[in-house]
């Protein structure tokens, strides 16, 4: 980043006499704008489309398929619709807070992308406190949600806001405790440094480093789901209980911002677990010599890994019910926090006992994970096959919505 601006200044692209910091600021704004509008907003939008298509398949229906090929442009249509809708502010609301809340949520979410390493050189700022910064700014979301819940002057919103505050603050702890083993292993908080400590091969990833990090990975993922208000932890906006939780009174663009942050956060979750545990953008060096294909490949592998976890979160959402608010707290404090702490201590002990790591354990854990994946995939294939076999022309009414297409 900085080198780029420096070279531009040296080449005379920046008008003379302009202070250097203005050039830096301008470059930051331009680059930030590009990232926000070219990557973050589309990724949040497209994730809504992916979610609805996947949900459609899970629920034996089709999902959006009218706007664009396979309904791909549905997210744009929905976004435009939301923007054009009336922005209603309840007369009894605390107006400044009510209006500010979505932007706070959005800021917390967008600021997280500053340290997301999309590829080798593709990172906005490789802060030396990267992962700490990330946990800090994503906690900003809870401030916005609490503001929204309070300012709406609606009891359902308030309950949603309170639930959200309790939930996000509680789940920060197991999430933080699960990040610590990785930080100890890599010896750095920097995102690029953590990725640099891992290799392209699965057995060099942090998740397979020792049994403790293996469990820490799952705890981090579960905690991240809870922080992102995703099922089974979608209590703050529990539709069947709290109408729409903290977003009940919001409409139009402000409502859209809340949900964009929610879906965009899914990608952040994926990016974080990929960076910390799954080798990030590492690819075999032999694959590409030239920097451009190498960066493209790195970006692609990082995106694929991160998006896989988005898909898992979507799958979970349409499979699991929602837990109750007391169960949510018990799960955090009685189960996740102690286990995460054991993982943290265990990793420390492991590092003392085996400073160089144990290759056999790494390979064994990788094979275990691969075995689990294969078993799961076989089960999925079995069920899909069975569903296809039992499909019959059962509906008798040509106009019925339940008409099942026969095979072939």
């Amino acid at each position: 980043m900085q080198e780029l601006v420096d070279s531009l200044v040296a080449d005379g692209f920046v008008p003379g006499g302009l202070p250097l910091w203005v050039a830096y600021l301008g470059a930051m704004l331009v680059f930030g704008g590009i990232v926000v509008f070219v990557f973050i907003l589309p990724i949040a939008g497209i994730t809504t489309w992916v979610e609805r298509r996947v949900a459609g398949r899970i629920q034996s229906r089709i999902g959006p398929n009218r706007t664009g090929p396979a309904g791909f442009l549905q997210w744009l249509a929905d976004g435009i619709k939301s923007v054009l809708k009336e922005d209603i502010v309840p007369s009894a609301a605390d107006v400044p807070l009510f209006k500010l809340a979505p932007y706070v949520v959005m800021t917390g979410f967008v600021a997280a992308f500053v340290v997301v390493p999309f590829g080798g050189p593709l990172i906005i700022a490789d802060l030396n406190v990267g992962i700490l910064y990330l946990t800090a700014v994503t906690a900003l979301v809870v401030v916005g949600i609490l503001m929204a819940g309070w300012a709406s002057n609606n009891k359902w919103s308030l309950l949603g806001g309170i639930r959200s505050a309790a939930q996000i603050v509680s789940y920060e702890i197991p999430a933080g405790l699960s990040i610590l083993p990785v930080v100890m292993l890599a010896g750095t908080l920097s995102m690029q440094g953590i990725i640099g400590h891992q290799g392209w091969a699965p057995w060099t990833w942090h998740v397979f480093d020792n049994p403790f990090t293996f469990f820490a990975f799952f705890i981090l993922f579960v905690s991240a789901l809870a922080e992102g208000n995703r099922t089974p932890f979608d209590l703050p906006e529990a539709e069947s209980e709290l109408v729409m939780g903290f977003a009940t009174e919001y409409s139009g663009l402000r409502n859209l911002l809340f949900f964009m942050a929610e879906w965009g956060n899914l990608y952040v979750i994926g990016a974080v677990v990929t960076t910390l545990f799954l080798g990030g953008w590492q690819i075999p060096l032999a694959l590409a010599d030239h920097p451009v294909p190498r960066i493209v490949l790195q970006f692609a592998i990082f995106f694929a890994k991160a998006y896989f976890w988005v898909f898992v979160a979507v799958w979970l959402r349409w499979t699991l019910p929602r837990i109750r608010v007391d169960q949510m707290m018990i799960m955090c404090w009685k189960y996740l926090v102690p286990i995460a702490f054991v993982n943290f201590m265990g990793t420390a002990v492991w590092m003392v006992l085996f400073p160089a790591g144990v290759p056999a354990v790494r390979v064994l854990l990788s094979l275990t994970a691969a075995g689990l994946l294969v078993a799961f995939a076989r089960r999925v294939v079995f069920h899909v096959r069975r569903a296809l076999l039992t499909r019959e022309e059962l509906s008798f009414n040509p106009l019925s919505t339940a008409r099942v297409m026969s095979r072939g």
């Binding site: 949900a55 899970i58 629920q59 034996s60 229906r61 009891k155 359902w156 309950l159 309170i162 639930r163 099922t231 089974p232 979608d234 529990a238 539709e239 069947s240 209980e241 109408v243 349409w318 499979t319 699991l320 019910p321 929602r322 837990i323 109750r324 608010v325 007391d326 169960q327 018990i330 799960m331 039992t390 019959e392 059962l394 509906s395 008798f396 009414n397 019925s400 919505t401 339940a402």
Partner: protein, 386 residues
């Protein structure tokens, strides 16, 4: 009750002189999970309810009064609206009451047609109930899956009587239409497909860990309490009381049929909790399939409607007819004064009976539990108010 698993006692009293206030929440009449327009006034301390007082009457349409104005035949379509999720039973109750007053003998085939339609309707109603229960707990997919199967039943019933929701299928003295040709095979092929699906639903959601934790030990009602509060149908059977009008006060052709009456056993927690009520419905669907197979196998030949005068005037008198609706013991008290219009009609419904106990069981539950309780009672708002 011992504290196991996720269960905890939540400290509700604040020590040290900090004053707290209760919050009064108005849940409904427009709330996503009150199953129609139904209102609860919830007095809550944070997330814990001190009480939930049901406020009914938002869907009152004076159906009983209408019966006094439209005549005996003319009231049949209105009965559909008493409980639109299980309209066949209301049809049947009204028809049986009129027949008993006028001492009409219903043809055998008509009785079988009625039972077939009613049992399909029971499956349909229970599917909606278990599906929306899962949806209220937060799992959307089971709802879509159960509604998918419900659509097939809708198709079957549409072919039978031309309507998908408010059937208006039965008539005083029989049924409106005979079973169309080829319908029996379609019904059997549906049952063939549907019966294994009940096990699939159980695998999909019923024994899901989160789901059972949400339902077990919540709002447990003992057998004595259930009887005291006059619960009926699956709500009563969920508490372990084996009472089913079809078996204990048999009507129509039920004595000729062989079926079980599933009751709750407290398999995962306390007897009579939300999970028991839920599982009773799941198991009743299997029993309904059994009844349907028998009915479809022994369907006799003959007319489907007795000769009933167009200007129907039953003898003066009164009668009380009980049928087992999808929501339990449904009572029809009809008084005739010998004219072409009923003198009075009183309908007793299962959902209304269940409303009275909600205030008692909802004490000290979480707000999220109230949703589960409403769903587990299978409340249908129009049936409460009529």
């Amino acid at each position: 009750m011992s504290l196991t698993g996720f269960e905890v006692e939540i400290q509700r009293e604040v020590d040290g002189g900090l004053t707290t206030e209760d919050m009064t929440l108005s849940m409904g009449p427009q709330h996503p999970s009150t199953h129609g327009v139904l209102r609860f006034v919830v007095r809550a301390d944070g997330e814990v309810m001190k009480e939930a007082i049901p406020d009914i009457g938002y869907l009152h349409r004076s159906i009983e009064k209408i019966s006094e104005k439209v005549g005996w035949h003319g009231f049949m379509p209105y009965t559909d609206r008493v409980d639109y999720v299980a309209a066949m039973f209301c049809n049947q109750g009204w028809a049986m009451a009129a027949e008993r007053l006028a001492s009409i003998e219903v043809p055998k085939r008509a009785e079988y047609c009625r039972i077939i339609a009613a049992e399909f309707n029971r499956i349909q109603s229970h599917l909606l109930s278990v599906g929306s229960m899962a949806m209220d707990i937060g799992a959307y997919t089971p709802f879509i899956h159960t509604v998918r199967e419900r659509e097939y039943i809708n198709d079957l019933i549409e072919e039978l009587c031309g309507a998908r929701l408010t059937f208006n299928y039965m008539r005083i003295g029989g049924v409106a239409w005979d079973i169309p040709p080829g319908w029996r095979e379609k019904a059997l092929s549906f049952l063939e497909r549907f019966e294994p699906l009940i096990d699939e639903y159980n695998a999909l959601i019923s024994y899901n860990k989160i789901y059972t934790e949400r339902l077990r030990n919540v709002a447990a009602i003992s057998a004595q309490e259930a009887i005291d509060y006059n619960l009926v149908g699956p709500n009563l059977r969920g508490s372990g009381v084996r009472y089913d009008v079809r078996r204990d006060l048999p009507y129509s052709v039920y004595p000729e049929l062989d079926f079980d009456v599933p009751v709750g056993s407290g398999e995962l927690g306390t007897l009579g909790d939300c999970f028991d009520r839920y599982m009773v419905r799941m198991r009743e669907m299997k029993e309904s399939c059994k009844i349907l197979r028998q009915c479809l196998a022994q369907l006799p030949q003959g007319p489907v409607i007795a000769k009933v005068a167009r200007n129907f005037k039953p003898a003066a008198g009164d009668c009380y007819v009980r049928i087992e609706s999808a929501r339990g013991d449904m009572g029809w008290y009809v008084v005739s004064d010998g004219t072409a219009f009923p003198h009075r009609c009183k309908i007793r419904t299962g959902s209304f009976a269940a409303m009275s106990i909600i205030q008692k069981v909802s004490r000290n539950l979480m707000i999220a539990d109230l949703i589960a309780v409403i769903a587990s009672f299978d409340l249908v708002a129009p049936e409460i108010d009529r």
